[in-house]
Structures are given as structure tokens and as C-alpha cells.
């Protein structure tokens, strides 16, 4: 393990942390993934709203698209035929991805709200203008970081030299990032921010589906308010999760040469998973002991 590999590893971890945070905030501004069904239901249970509602499939496929598209554009520009510098190629690729994101977001917002016409849900053009650009900006950062990680893994002049082509690596990281954003950060928005009128940490009771907060501190709540809230915890924690995954996964193949010490790398991976599981279990038990059952909890209900 040389100093260059260690430095690249640190850079990848840092890029992944930024990508995770921006990906989660991007999905929060647009209420993508699981908080989306609550926004979708809100109008149906009588709460029309001015919240951005984009459903570009789940987060994993949509982020796979942005990452793969940015990577394809970057690898075309970087090829011998065009010979553009890697940094600028990735920047242009991310721009293309952000534009695709903006287009898909706009049509989702318009389509979903239009399909709630019988519940008097309007399509607000000012929401579209102000939020789409915010979403695109976050998507740009995400795509740039993911493609940069993939480039570090595949570039012929850097030590890792992964055998897969750049777009395929970016595609895979895009899916991983979307899955982590969906499972880690969305809880903060979907279960807490949308249901702020219920006790903190109470989870989502099925009977409260769609009963989301649609009013802000002053006036009506906008999705940019939601990004502001999620930037305090949900976004950073997603970044930390994705950063750790990229860092730890590459760390084990950096300290052990995959060609000659493959089994050590695999064993280290298994050890990390076991340790994290034990840590999670301890955390769960301690939280339950410290904070106890919710005030209204009255024991298990017999079937």
C-alpha cells in the first residue's frame, strides 16, 4: 500500500460523503422515493399542498441514470477522438445529467399533480421554477462526485485500474447511492418532517397516511424548507453512510492486494459487516432502554 493509493482512497471517501449528502437533499426537495407516496396521498385525504412531488422511479434507478449518463458523456469527451481534460469532461457530463434530471422532475411534478385533479390539486408554475433548479444543482453535485469516484477507479494512469468501463462502474455506484439515500436519509424526511405534528420518533401509523404538514412557519410549506430541515441530519448521515461504504470497501482491497491476498480482503469485509451488526444491536438496545416505549404504547396487542 503506497501513499498514492491511500490518498486516492481518502479522496474517494470524501467525494462519496458529499455525493451522499447532495443525493439525499436532491430527493428531499423533490419528495422522491418513500416520502413521495405520502405527498401523493395528501391531496386525496384533503390536504392539497405546494410541495414538490417528483417520482422518477425509485432513487436507485434514477441515480443510476444520472451517473451512467454523466459517465458516458465524460468518457466520450475524454476519448482520443475529443481528448478533453478529465475534470472538464466530468463537469460537462454532470451538466447533461442535471438537465435530464430537471426534465424528468418537471414532467413528474406536472403529471402527478394533474392526476389528482378531482381533489383540486393545482400545478403551481412558481414551485416548478424555483424548485427544479435547486434539484438540478444537487443532482449536478451528486453526478460529479459519483463519476469522479468511478474515474479514480478506472483511470489507466492511477493505481486501481478496475477492469470494467467507466459508465458501468458509475451505473453501479449510482444504484448503490440511490439505495442508501432511499434507506438512510429519507426516514428523516418521510417519518419526521412530513409528520412533525406527531411525537418525535413515533413512526408512521397507517391511519395517519397522507396527513402530512402542508403549512410552514409562515405561509405554506415549500419543499426547499424541507431541504433546509433535512440538511441538518438526514443529508449528512446519508453522506456518512455512503462515504463509509466507499471508504471501507476500497480500504480492504487497498491494504490487501486482491490478486494475491483476495481471501484476506473478503475476510476483512465479513468482519466489518459483523462488527457493524453488533454495534447496531448495542445501539438499538441502549436506545430502547434509555427512551423506553412511547407514552401511548400499552403492550403488545393480542391477535
Amino acid at each position: 500500500m503506497d501513499m498514492v493509493s491511500m490518498g486516492l482512497l481518502a479522496a474517494m471517501g470524501a467525494l462519496a460523503t458529499i455525493a451522499g449528502a447532495s443525493e439525499d437533499l436532491e430527493s428531499d426537495v423533490g419528495s422522491q422515493s418513500n416520502p413521495n407516496s405520502q405527498v401523493q396521498l395528501a391531496a386525496q385525504v384533503g390536504h392539497t399542498h405546494r410541495i414538490y412531488n417528483k417520482a422518477i422511479s425509485g432513487e436507485p434507478p434514477s441515480n443510476a441514470l444520472y451517473a451512467a449518463l454523466a459517465a458516458v458523456t465524460a468518457s466520450v469527451l475524454m476519448s482520443d477522438a475529443y481528448g478533453m481534460n478529465a475534470f472538464f469532461s466530468i463537469a460537462v457530463g454532470s451538466l447533461v445529467a442535471a438537465v435530464f434530471n430537471g426534465i424528468l422532475s418537471m414532467t413528474s411534478y406536472m403529471g402527478r399533480n394533474t392526476s389528482q385533479a378531482r381533489f383540486n390539486q393545482y400545478v403551481y408554475l412558481d414551485v416548478l421554477r424555483s424548485h427544479t433548479t435547486t434539484i438540478m444543482a444537487h443532482a449536478y453535485i451528486t453526478a460529479f462526485c459519483v463519476v469522479a469516484i468511478s474515474y479514480i477507479m478506472t483511470a489507466p494512469w492511477l493505481p486501481i485500474q478496475h477492469p470494467f468501463p467507466l459508465p458501468v462502474i458509475a451505473f453501479t455506484w449510482g444504484i448503490a447511492l440511490g439505495a442508501i439515500g432511499s434507506s438512510t436519509g429519507d426516514v428523516h424526511y418521510g417519518a419526521e418532517r412530513e409528520f412533525q405534528q406527531y411525537p418525535f420518533g413515533a413512526g408512521l401509523n397507517a391511519a395517519n397516511s397522507g396527513d402530512i404538514v402542508t403549512k410552514g412557519e409562515a405561509g405554506l410549506r415549500s419543499s426547499i424548507d424541507n431541504a433546509w430541515f433535512c440538511a441538518k441530519f438526514g443529508g449528512p448521515v446519508t453522506g456518512l453512510a455512503f462515504g463509509l461504504i466507499v471508504f471501507l470497501d476500497n480500504w480492504r482491497t487497498t491494504i490487501f492486494d486482491p490478486a494475491t491476498q483476495g481471501w484476506y480482503a473478503i475476510a476483512t469485509g465479513v468482519l466489518i459487516v459483523v462488527l457493524l451488526n453488533v454495534y447496531n444491536r448495542i445501539l438499538e438496545v441502549r436506545s430502547k432502554k434509555r427512551y423506553g416505549p412511547y407514552p401511548e404504547y400499552a403492550g403488545d396487542i393480542k391477535a
Binding site: 458516458v72 477522438a81 475529443y82 392526476s115 389528482q116 403551481y124
Partner: protein, 268 residues
């Protein structure tokens, strides 16, 4: 599963859509191949892109039909499944059948879809009446889209060349995911009790334009600048036309498209 996935009545018949989707797709693929071969250029690759759009419209309608049974969060999954079936069958067809590869691939994908649908209904007992027929359409649409977008990138049908231009360059990633999103996004974005078929299908044309544009970017280093730029320009024009048409339909169908304002009656 989201409540009230919805889906209004179908004005355009599914048989007609399937016919146009498969026919248009196969015609586009072969025309692009033959005209590129005859002229020795890559200028006609865009024809395969047009074929892909036809198949995307057919696929989007199939997603719409099956998802009207209340599959909400399953919309992306079913799109991925379509492309998965299409990908395996399409590349198998191309590998074994040479110039007849696309037709063999599409036929296998449709058989594959029918079989998966039968498993879903008979073994898992989902009991969705249209499952077999819809998965057959989706498998076919997936295969056409994969082959057509791959032909946009490589400019011709030839297993070796397609492998070099599409798979080894990694462009298959964007062919797969842009094609999948183009099929699943139209219904997913318009899901709700007041969804209408024409709005969803016009949206499918616009996402098809985007997928064609994405494949066009890849073709910049495979078929050459002329053919790639032509593909991208035509894709952008199709997208723009479809997007404006879609916006018109949004204005027709929605409770109101307003510049700004408070909530409608009953919201406050």
C-alpha cells in the same frame, strides 16, 4: 403499494399499439442497418432511435395496463423486469442468429415474458388477469428498445461490432437504464386517479426522445460526429414537440395550472 394507482380508460387499442410498437421497432432497426450499410455512413442510425420510441410507447401502455391493478411502488420494478428480460433475450438473439438476431431476440423476450407472467399468476398466485399478456408486451418492448438503442450507438447489427461499441465501452449501462426509465417513467409520473392514456403516451414519446438523445451521445465516438449529431438533433426535436404537447394536455386535464397562489378550495 400505493393507494389508487388509477388509470383511466384506454382510447387507443392495445393491439394497435403493440403492432405499431413491434413493427416500427423492427423496421427502424433494419432500415438503420441497411441504409448505413448501403451508404457506408452512420447518418441513418437515428431510424433505430425512432424504432425505439415506437417500442417505448408500446411498453409504457403495457406498464399502464398492469399497474392499473394497484401496483404503485411496483412501477419501477416492472420496468426493470421488462428491460432485464429484454436484455438477456436480445443479446442471446444477436449472438446466435446473425442478421436475424433482432427478430429472434424479440420473439424469445416475448416468450420469456409470457412464461414469467404465467409463473406470477399460477405459482405465486398474483391472479392479475392481464399479467401474461402484459409481460409478453413488456419483454418484447424491452428487447426492441435494447437492440434499437444499441444500433443507434453502433450503427449496424453485427454481434462482434455491437459488443465492441456498446458493451466493452460501457455504453450498455446508459442504453439499459435510459431505456428502462423511458418505459416506466410515463405511467409512474402520471400515476393517480385522473391519469389519462393520451397524456401518458405523449409523455412516453418525450422520454423516448430523451433515451434516443442519450444513445446519440454514446454514438459520437462510434458512428461518427455527423450521424451522432443528426440523431441528437432529431431526438431533441421530438422531445421538444412531445414536451409542449404534454404541457398542453396537463393544462387540459389538471384542476388548474396557476402561476402562483394559495391552495385550492378545501386545502386550507
Amino acid at each position: 403499494m400505493s393507494v389508487a394507482a388509477g388509470g383511466g380508460e384506454s382510447k387507443i387499442d392495445k393491439t394497435k399499439l403493440t403492432m405499431y410498437g413491434l413493427g416500427g421497432g423492427i423496421l427502424g432497426i433494419y432500415l438503420a442497418h441497411v441504409l448505413n450499410m448501403i451508404t457506408g455512413t452512420g447518418y441513418f442510425s437515428f431510424l433505430a432511435g425512432l424504432g425505439a420510441i415506437a417500442a417505448i410507447v408500446m411498453g409504457a401502455d403495457a406498464v399502464r395496463r398492469v399497474c392499473a391493478y394497484g401496483i404503485g411502488t411496483g412501477v419501477p420494478s416492472i420496468g426493470m423486469m421488462a428491460m432485464g428480460m429484454g436484455l438477456v433475450a436480445a443479446w442471446f438473439g444477436l449472438a446466435v442468429a446473425g442478421i436475424a438476431g433482432p427478430i429472434i431476440g424479440i420473439a424469445i423476450a416475448m416468450g420469456f415474458g409470457y412464461f414469467v407472467g404465467m409463473l406470477a399468476n399460477k405459482i405465486i398466485k398474483m391472479n392479475i388477469p392481464v399479467m401474461e399478456e402484459v409481460l409478453m408486451s413488456l419483454g418484447g418492448a424491452g428487447a426492441v428498445v435494447i437492440i434499437a438503442l444499441s444500433v443507434v450507438v453502433s450503427g449496424q447489427i453485427g454481434y462482434e461490432d455491437m459488443l465492441n461499441d456498446v458493451v466493452l465501452t460501457g455504453f450498455i449501462a446508459v442504453v439499459f437504464i435510459a431505456g428502462a426509465l423511458a418505459i416506466l417513467q410515463p405511467f409512474n409520473a402520471n400515476l393517480g386517479p385522473d391519469e389519462t392514456q393520451d397524456r401518458t403516451l405523449v409523455h412516453a414519446v418525450s422520454t423516448g426522445g430523451l433515451a434516443m438523445f442519450a444513445a446519440g451521445i454514446g454514438s459520437l465516438i462510434t458512428v461518427g460526429v455527423g450521424g451522432a449529431v443528426l440523431t441528437m438533433l432529431i431526438a431533441a426535436a421530438i422531445w421538444l414537440k412531445a414536451f409542449l404537447w404534454y404541457f398542453k394536455l396537463v393544462k387540459r386535464d389538471s384542476a388548474g395550472v396557476v402561476g402562483t397562489g394559495l391552495l385550492a378550495e378545501g386545502g386550507l
